[in-house]
């Protein structure tokens, strides 16, 4: 595949409440930041991830174009998924060879509604949603099936987050990702734009897979789709120094570490992970950004990023990043 690298990453200082900023106001600073970091003001392709149901209105992504100042008109697309999947679409687009840069961003204000109940609307509307299971109940089903020291995972994430200026200032460890408002952006470069840049995190592999929707069709103690995505992305081809995992519930780290084949030597979620800040629809993209940052600052030679979607880790994306193309 054509080499593609992360050249810039920015995120908001996340909040646990509505700070009064509209979505475009939330995005604007991170877009400005990645433009400055990358030295690029225009991009060959732009892709974003967001969810209408967080705002309770259609087309929540439309006003984001105002924040971009998309004029003259831009080549742009949007996924109603975590922005990590928008990054995947941008990576694919860069494989064509005719454009060399992409802007990816995601944003979400989960403070605006009852996120736990909103997530119920993601379930099969005929057979699952009417049962009334909210996001926590669903996660509880999986947690009861998985063995692990979840308080320890929560504690380590909380301790790691103390040095992350963007994370929430939580008074104590939590096993459930907190309600968070925030946004993030990444710039990808390829081709000639890779030259003369020293601070890059190359995407050595990236892939995603989805599992069946119905929990009865899955072994909830495992994640077949995460394992398949990890194999396709090439996680096992070398040691993994750092893994940033989309862990919205502490037990998911146990499931994912096994699925990705991570050894005890891998530092998991040094940012604190989603248990320290979970701006829904940007959380997965932030994992890629955090992993890239570790590669860029030299604290990791090889890092893995993971993003998830759907109930009980139904859909998983895995990326491998390093200094080398």
């Amino acid at each position: 595949m054509r080499p593609v690298a992360v050249a810039a990453f920015a995120q908001t200082t996340h909040t646990d409440h509505d700070s009064g900023l509209s979505e475009p106001e939330l995005i604007l600073p991170v877009i400005r930041a990645v433009r400055e970091q990358s030295g690029l003001t225009e991009f060959g392709f732009t892709c974003s991830g967001s969810c209408d149901y967080l705002a309770g209105a259609p087309f929540s992504f439309v006003s984001a174009l105002d924040a971009l100042g998309a004029w003259p008109p831009i080549q742009e697309s949007h996924v109603e998924m975590d922005a990590a999947f928008a990054l995947y679409e941008a990576w694919v687009r860069l494989q064509h060879g005719d454009v060399d840069s992409a802007l990816v961003y995601g944003f979400g204000k989960s403070s605006m509604g009852d996120l736990r109940e909103i997530m119920t609307l993601q379930l099969d509307p005929y057979y699952l949603a009417p049962l009334g299971l909210d996001q926590l109940s669903y996660a509880g089903l999986q947690r009861s099936a998985v063995q692990g020291d979840f308080p320890a995972i929560a504690r380590r994430s909380w301790e790691s987050a103390q040095t992350n200026p963007y994370a929430l200032k939580l008074p104590e460890p939590v096993e459930t990702a907190p309600i968070t408002d925030g946004a993030a952006a990444i710039v990808l470069v390829a081709g000639d734009l890779l030259h003369d840049r020293t601070n890059l995190a190359y995407i050595n592999g990236i892939a995603h897979r989805i599992d069946p929707h119905y929990p009865g069709m899955r072994d909830l103690t495992r994640s077949a789709s995460a394992a398949a995505a990890a194999t396709a992305a090439g996680v096992g081809k070398g040691p993994v120094d750092v893994a940033e995992l989309h862990v919205q519930f502490a037990h998911e780290e146990t499931v994912l570490a096994e699925a990705l084949g991570l050894s005890g030597d891998t530092l998991i979620n040094p940012s604190g992970g989603p248990l320290a800040a979970n701006p829904v629809m940007a959380t997965g993209l932030i994992r890629i950004g955090e992993a890239a940052s570790r590669v860029m600052d030299g604290t990791a030679a090889r890092a893995v990023a993971h993003a998830a979607s759907g109930p009980c880790l139904q859909h998983n994306l895995v990326a491998v990043l390093s200094r080398e193309s």
Partner: protein, 382 residues
Amino acid sequence: MGNRCAVIGVGQTHYTTRRRDVSMAGLVREAALRALEDAGLTFADIDAVVVGKAPDLFEGVMMPEAYLADALGAAGKPMTRVHTAGSVGGSTALVGASLIQGGVHDRVLVVAYEKQSESNATWALTTHLPFTSSLVVGAGGYFAPHIREYMRRSGAPGHIGTLVAVKDRLNALKNPYAHLRIPGIDRAMVESTPMLWEPIRYLETCPSSDGACAIVLSSERAVTGTPAWVHGGAMRSEPIFRAGRDTVSPQAGIDCAADVYRQAGVTDPRRDLDVAEVYVPFSWYEPMWLENLGFCGVNEGWKLTEAGATALDGDIPWNASGGVLSSNPIGASGLIRFAEAALQVRGMAGDHQVEGARRALGHAYGGGAQFFAMWIVGAEKP
């Protein structure tokens, strides 16, 4: 544009007001199975699935790809959900094609749908973001002023919209999948219907439909059956609130067309293309898009319509399928345009086939006429 890509299968459901007999999953699966059958393939031959639809509020299912994974045979594969407002059906095809053009996959299933009967689209479009005011107008109320401005600029006579409404419904009578099939449709019938949003009368607007459309895309080495080759694809977006933008002929549409024409080597679309499937949800958008897409000069579009150039027997038929005016499962409407363009160049459009069609345009737009997706497909390998 990357590696070559072809449409090798098309599947549609019969568009109608209410599909009470199927779930959403059943609806998309019906279209997917027909597309696979057309390609002579099964779900096992598919590498990735891309799903598109308009806002989730239309059915009340959030990020429905999670729920649809099983019905579309996506388990164990990559699945993507595209959402770019009304243009989404077109964008979904382009995202699917991108996976092949980028060399990532050999066969991609693309599915777009809307089951409008699950909810009320005009209501869903009327709710607004926090801290903003609702226009409480739906799509027709939003676009009617743009149409009136077009009429003022171009001096188009008032009956042009009626002509489009009749022409597209006559075409729909030749398309077994079309929703609105109105025997005896004529100008008097259209003009007798109530004025909804001046100048748009009831029969000058699109219906609310349940339906799904699916296509199978293939790399060159994995082609089966009769391919429609992708000669170019492009997307463009512009901000809805930019004060200086021209909502009658948006720059994003002009730029998107220029991009796709350049890729396909089209210099004069009216001459170089044989048929066009263009997103016309309100009758007057035919003359407006004729100009925006460069089929004629500024303020001349209505003259092509009036002269019958866009009729099935005209020199550049538009919406031979009956178009969005005859079937509108919103999220699928763009993909239906793209798929109908493919059917035409494959020679598989049935009674609404444009004889000898070799190159066709598929077009979709959305949001406040700010999102555009287009492709050109051809019978010959590019």
